[in-house]
Structures are given as C-alpha cells and as structure tokens.
Amino acid sequence: MYSQGLIGAKTETTEDEAFLAAFQRRIDAEEKIEPNDPMPEGYRRTLIRQIGQHAHSEIVGMLPEGNWITRAPSLRRKAALLAKVQDEGGHGLYLYSAAETLGVSREQMTEELLAGKAKYSSIFNYPTLTWADIGAIGWLVDGAAIMNQIPLCRCSYGPYARAMIRVCKEESFHQRQGYEIMMTLANGTPEQKELAQDALNRWWWPSLMMFGPHDSDSQHGDQSMRWKIKRFTNDELRQQFVDSTVPQAEFIGLTLPDPELKWNEERGHYDFGPIDWDEFWRVVKGGGPMNKERLEARQKAWDEGAWVREAALAHAEKRKARREAAKMAAE
C-alpha cells in the first residue's frame, strides 16, 4: 500500500466565504465528511486526485513485486509474496471505491492513469533486479507507506478513512514479510548479505522521496492540512520513517547509504543527507528507469482485457432479457 506526497492537485475553490467557513467549522470539530455532504469543489477535487493517485500506486505497485512471484526462492516465500501482491490489488480496489463516492468512475481514473494525466508513487518506476529487492520493498517502501497511511485513517473524508483502516489492518504483515526476507539474507551466506546491502543501497533514497517534496517546496500541503486530509507534513513523516528505520538496519547489520546519517542528541532525531530532488522530479515526470514499461504493462492489461469486460456486460444483458422473457411467459 503506497501513498506519496500529493503532486500537482489544485486546491483553490470558488465558493463564498460563509460556505467555506461553515465547512471549515465542521472539519475543525472533527466531523467526518460523507459522500453526499456539501463540500467545497476544491476539497472534492483534491480528494479525487489524492485517492486516485493512491489507488494507481497500489495497482502499478503490483508490477515490480509481481516480477518475482514465479522466481520466489521457496514455496513459503512464494505464497507470502503472492498474497501480498494480491493485497495491493485489493487496496487499489478499496481506494478506487472510495474515490467513486465522489462522482468519478474507476474507468475514468484508469484512463487518466493510462493517458499519463494521473500520477502514481514514483518509487515503482525503479526496477526489481534481485530477490532482495522484494525484501527491501516490503521493509522500506511498505514501511514508508505505513507512516503515511496511519494518519490517513483519521482523514476528514469518511470513505477514504474507512478504506485506510481496512488497508492498514491488512497491511500489517507486509512490512514484517519484507524485513524477515532482509533479515534472512543478512544472516545468510556472504553472497546473500551482498544482495541485501545492494538492494538497500538502491531503495533507500527513493523510499525517502516517497514522502514528497520538502514542506517548504510543497504547494498544497497547507490547504490539505487545514482540511484534515493530511495530518502530518511530508518532512515530519519522513523524519519519523528515518528514526524508526535506522535501528532496524543496525539490528540486521546493514548500512544505510548515507554518510551524513547520524543521531542528533539536541533534536532527538537522526540527521540525514540531502535528497536528490532532481532525480525525484525526473522520475515523477517520466524519466525513471521503468516509467514507460509500467504504463505499457497497465495499458496492455487494459486493452487485452477489453473483450473480456465487453463479454461480461453482453452476457449480463442476455441474462436480464432471458429473465424478463421468462417472467412474461409465466404471467
């Protein structure tokens, strides 16, 4: 389950001030907003955008991990990975459903994804090169996602919050699954340990980027915080992630690829080195190693599935007609 700091939503609204103030009072009173409630257009648009991005991330996220299902090194690992990737599909489904309560269809959202108009978490534009990448994704990517998602369980929009509660419940095994893989590798042969360290080196920085741009560079963070769609800023969540991951890496004897990483007694947090934002934006805009392949794979599944979906609808029509004919005949 993977959310990323929101990229590029427009949050400005045109409703009059009394309406916006009344809405804000409901939010401030921690009231949940439900599908048919009056809401500012900007709130609706931001949610559709964010939930859609979140759902797309789940669906695209099935691809890099799915890449290793047939090559999983043991039957136990294979079953766990298959169940995990399936869960991501389920989480995408819950999220699309939550977005659908706002008046947008899954088909519309899918078409936006395929047209390159909707974003998804850019971490999935990196390739899974070895089995250790499956461990690293579970541990780091799911770990980062959990940081993002737990506060979303208290999001002001009811259907999104409820979807996140279900997701977080199911997700609890994902990070453990990944960490267990990494731990096994780190305690294994020298070659296995090398696999683990290599995967950690490649996934660490993209994982930190998952939280989105720095608060100072994030255009939409403030409004989302006021509307309680978001509860913590990108930087707060990123810091929380670093603080909890460093000891986990130490425990299994792996080194995080950041020479500037050190405990800051005064702040009570780890300091870490600068993130390469040029790389982040390059990957977001389509220049990552796998952007093209990921969208092509989704496009292919969508196109090749068209005749199946059409057949299901055609058959449903026939069933209905036959049922009605039988009813008429009986009357």
Binding site: D37, R309, A312
Partner: protein
Amino acid sequence: MAKNEIPLWEVFIRPRNGLSHKHCGSVHAADEVMALNAARDVYTRRGEGVSIWVVPSAAIVASDPEHKDENFEPALSKVYRHPTFYKIPDDVGHM
C-alpha cells in the same frame, strides 16, 4: 453510468451467525453472480464472513443530507424515550 462501465455493487458481510450483515465496501461486476464471487474473493480473504449480500449501488436510496436537521434533530429533544430520564431510588435495585 456511461456505456461500457461495469456496474458497481455494495457488499454486506455477516461476520458470523448471530450478527447482522454489515456494509464493508464495493465491487464492480457485470451481473449478480459475478458480484457475489467478486465480493467473496475481495472481502473474505481473511475469514471475515459466513454470508454475503450484494446490492446494485444504483438501487440504494439515500436520505438527503440537506434534510439532516429536519430528519434527525427532532429526535434529540425526546429525552423521555431513554431510561435515564426516569428517577428511581437506588434502593429499588436494577430496573
């Protein structure tokens, strides 16, 4: 619904006998049989239920949030519908 969009169904699951079906989410399916199968495959993977209902989302009639005050506020003042409204001495015991 636009043409070629697969209809949405609301899914209700009974967690175990003795409890009522509870709304747990939705699925897309072309017909009711496939909707039941999809609900089973999506929402009962961790042993969440013993019975499933699916209802076309379009068949649900919802109250208008604009009517919220007139629908629900009048009930709030009817305190005499609640047992705590009536003062009975503690000595009487549980009633």
